[in-house]
């Protein structure tokens, strides 16, 4: 009994050293050496300053930008330090009201647009930080963005295309449009004027 306890104490100590210190430190060293950009959060730099991460979405509600998906993080949407989903159940009246409100806001911002609204644009993501919208959600918004910015629809659609990431091997996962990168590019495209 005592002998097993002594081994238990010693092995906890030794294995903590191996897996708790040596392993994460070795992985950190290798990661920083091999993939420094990813290991530090896939940051996007403009003029030497970090302006966002290509993996973490940001909130938008200005009609000149493509809007991201609704986010349930608190106290502000897209809080990168407190990820979470809404956890609202499918029959929860609060969820149904939230969806209806989002539909109304989208309709109001673009009253000529009669296309049905893609589901991902009115439902909160799991992380509250989803960097993507579906190509359908981008297509729905392209007309509004082009109109507000006075850009041609084709130019906007080309930028959407540029920031669309496909399925892995054409098979796995689903395609998405990176909203932050797209909006940064939209701003950059209009800067000279």
């Amino acid at each position: 009994m005592l002998k097993q306890l002594r081994i238990a104490l010693m092995s906890t100590l030794v294995l903590t050293g191996v897996m708790g210190l040596f392993y994460p430190i070795a992985i950190t060293g290798l990661a920083q050496l091999l993939f420094p950009k990813q290991a530090n959060g896939s940051l996007i730099y403009k003029d030497g300053k970090a302006v966002g991460s290509s993996l973490i979405g940001q909130p938008f509600d200005d009609p000149k930008y493509f809007w991201s998906r609704p986010s349930a993080t608190g106290p502000v949407p897209y809080n990168g330090a407190a990820s979470c989903g809404s956890n609202q159940g499918p029959t929860n009246p609060a969820l149904l009201k939230a969806v209806q409100d989002r539909v109304d806001v989208l309709r109001k911002a673009d009253s000529d647009n009669t296309q049905p609204i893609p589901v991902d644009l009115v439902t909160a993501s799991g992380s509250g930080l989803d960097p993507h919208i579906s190509p359908a959600a981008a297509a729905y918004q392209a007309g509004r963005v082009a109109k507000v910015r006075g850009m041609s629809l084709t130019t906007v659609q080309e930028l959407v295309q540029k920031h669309t990431q496909g399925r892995f091997l054409g098979l796995l996962g689903e395609p998405g449009v990176n909203v932050l990168e797209l909006n940064l590019d939209l701003d950059a495209a209009q800067k000279p004027s």
């Binding site: 010693m10 708790g20 297509a139």
Partner: protein
């Protein structure tokens, strides 16, 4: 199920079964001592810890060693959380974790449950994530694997007292299997975009400033990072599931791409499925291992189908609001509440099914927001005792318990003493197997009942109606199966839930392990009886179907009434209007 969903599921299962086979045979070599490429490091560890690697343990000693090791781990995880504010590697200056949350998390990680009452990125220091959580991710998985190997030895050995050496089995599981796989996997994950750094969080400006809740403009976003990849790798492989971040593998830093998602998803079931091949190899009849794997797959496929098609069907109330949920070239459609665009319906439903088939419990979408039948699937998967592939080690030892019950029931039908793998299954083994199989249901139903009649229990509910009951039922099912996933709307970080769920996790882990080791000890002592004309062959399609039926019937008998009050009622409410 549309073509896109079907392809994604088929590719997943195909790759899983192909990858499990060579890994399973390798693990058999490890446990039989035929692989020794890390021999010098292994012997160095034994010398430091005072382990005599030649020593054989009787089952009671093996159980004592398991309990001692888990007990010390429990204390270490508890203390690290309570004193993290005085320790290094805490760049974000996290304070001490509350006593009841520390208690819950300590049991949770030591019992391989990894239930998250806390939100990682705003609770745990880097040191706690590494020394407490990462370490337990490894060793709680290794403990499960060790107990399984001891049980397999019970079948293999003849007239023997010993069932192996816990320390050797646990250290070999860690060094030869978990650590090398995790190292490769962690680097892959960083390549895909997962952070791995000791720097504090990064602050970036928002492109478009927002109005905050207090009316002041919010102009910045804080991005929590840290040594994520090293922990997530073992979190997936060791069926742990406790996330680095609150949103777990839905968080883009914890699961950046469809490719990372696919590999993480394979990692959930890889070792558990591979252990079936290990079993076949160690008992000297690969067909026995394949039969267990087939029974597991037989349960997995229809439930996967149900989950994917329920989520794809979406929410009728959304359609009424003018929302398009149909699948097209431009969107996968379906119920997207709580799901990420890059995963869509197929990868989210696959994950929900796999993570609860195993005792993983990580999530890449919010199960609480699933459609009623989509959410029923993870609930049912756990209620089958997580024996469909299951947790590493714990899944297969659970399935072997069901195999013993199956041969016992078959024996009753024809009036013969049942045998399994040449060992007579007698009253002692059947009693122990019954304890192991029924303890989970006892804790789930009792815990749920206590929670729904007390104010403290009901206070945690987030969604009204039948769904609120499902949240509580899910929490106790998850804890009692050492899963760790949640209908996460439930506010479970209270002293009521932290204590009750903590106790549940402890007993359902160790009150299963001890009877299993007792069975191992009793079987090892027996001689082998040669198969006769009256022996029920256990490597045939007939036995596969019979075994799967036993698992389903035991689960349904325990839980059908509870399930009808939750997800089933909600399904009819949703579609009936």
């Amino acid at each position: 199920m549309n073509f896109n969903n079907f392809t994604q599921c088929a590719v997943y299962l195909g790759v899983l079964l192909l990858a499990a086979w060579p890994l399973g045979l390798y693990m058999a070599r490890v446990y039989e001592g035929r692989s020794s490429w890390l021999g010098s490091l292994e012997r160095f560890i034994y010398r430091l810890c005072g382990v005599n690697e030649k020593e054989e343990m009787a089952w009671k000693t093996y159980a004592i060693a398991t309990m001692m090791f888990s007990g010390v781990g429990l204390l270490a995880v508890f203390l690290l959380q309570r004193f993290q504010n005085h320790l290094p590697f805490n760049p974000m200056a996290m304070g001490p974790v509350s006593p009841d949350s520390s208690f819950n998390t300590a049991i949770s990680f030591v019992s391989n449950t990894n239930w998250q009452g806390y939100g990682g990125e705003y609770t745990m220091s880097y040191l706690t994530q590494m020394l407490a959580l990462t370490v337990q991710n490894f060793v709680s998985a290794a403990t499960g694997m060790a107990v399984l190997v001891a049980l397999i030895r019970g079948f293999v050995r003849k007239k023997a007292e010993g069932i192996g050496n816990f320390w050797v089995d646990m250290v070999r599981s860690t060094l030869y299997i978990l650590l090398p796989l995790s190292t490769i996997f962690a680097l892959f994950l960083v390549w895909q975009g997962m952070p791995q750094t000791f720097h504090p969080s990064v602050t970036v400006p928002l492109v478009q400033a927002m109005n905050g809740p207090d009316g002041k403009p919010v102009t910045e976003q804080v991005l929590a990072t840290g040594p994520v990849a090293s922990q997530v790798a073992i979190k997936m492989l060791g069926t742990n599931g406790g996330g680095y971040f609150n949103a777990n593998s839905a968080h883009p830093y914890e699961n950046p791409t469809p490719f990372s998602n696919f590999v993480e998803l394979e990692a959930i079931l890889l070792i558990a499925a591979a252990l079936c091949f290990t079993f076949g190899s160690m008992v000297g009849n690969p067909r026995e291992g394949r039969a267990l794997l087939a029974a597991m797959t037989l349960i997995f496929v229809p439930l996967l189908w149900l989950c994917v098609s329920s989520e794809q069907a979406g929410n009728p109330a959304f359609t009424k609001a003018g929302v398009d949920q149909s699948a097209s070239m431009l969107q996968p459609g379906g119920n997207m509440e709580g799901k990420e665009v890059r995963f869509g319906v197929a990868q989210s439903a696959l994950w929900a099914t796999a993570t609860t088939a195993a005792s993983n419990g990580s999530v890449n979408s919010m199960h609480d927001s699933f459609t009623p039948l989509g959410g029923l699937v993870p609930l049912v998967m756990m209620k089958f005792g997580e024996v469909v592939y299951g947790g590493v080690g714990s899944g297969l030892y659970g399935m072997l318990i069901f195999a013993l019950i199956a041969v016992f029931i078959a024996g009753l039908m024809v009036g013969r003493t049942p045998e399994y793998l040449g060992k007579k299954i007698e009253a002692y083994e059947v009693k122990m197997a019954s304890i192991a199989a029924l303890i989970m249901g006892f804790f789930v139903l009792l815990g749920t009942a206590v929670a729904v009649v007390t104010a403290a229990g009901k206070a945690g509910i987030a969604n009204p109606g039948a769904h609120g009951f499902s949240e509580i039922l899910y929490a106790f099912t998850s804890a009692a199966n050492n899963n760790g996933s949640a209908f996460a709307g439930l506010s479970a970080n209270t002293s009521f839930y932290n204590s009750l769920l903590g106790i549940t996790m402890f007993f359902t882990r160790f009150w299963v392990i001890i009877p299993i080791l007792a069975i191992a000890g009793s079987l090892a002592k027996k001689k082998v009886v040669p198969a006769g004309p009256g022996t029920l062959p256990t490597d045939t399609p007939l036995f596969v179907v019979f075994l799967a039926s036993v698992v389903i019937i035991v689960g349904a008998l325990c839980f059908f009434p509870a399930l009808s009050l939750g997800p089933i009622v909600e399904h009819f409410t949703m579609w009936g209007g």
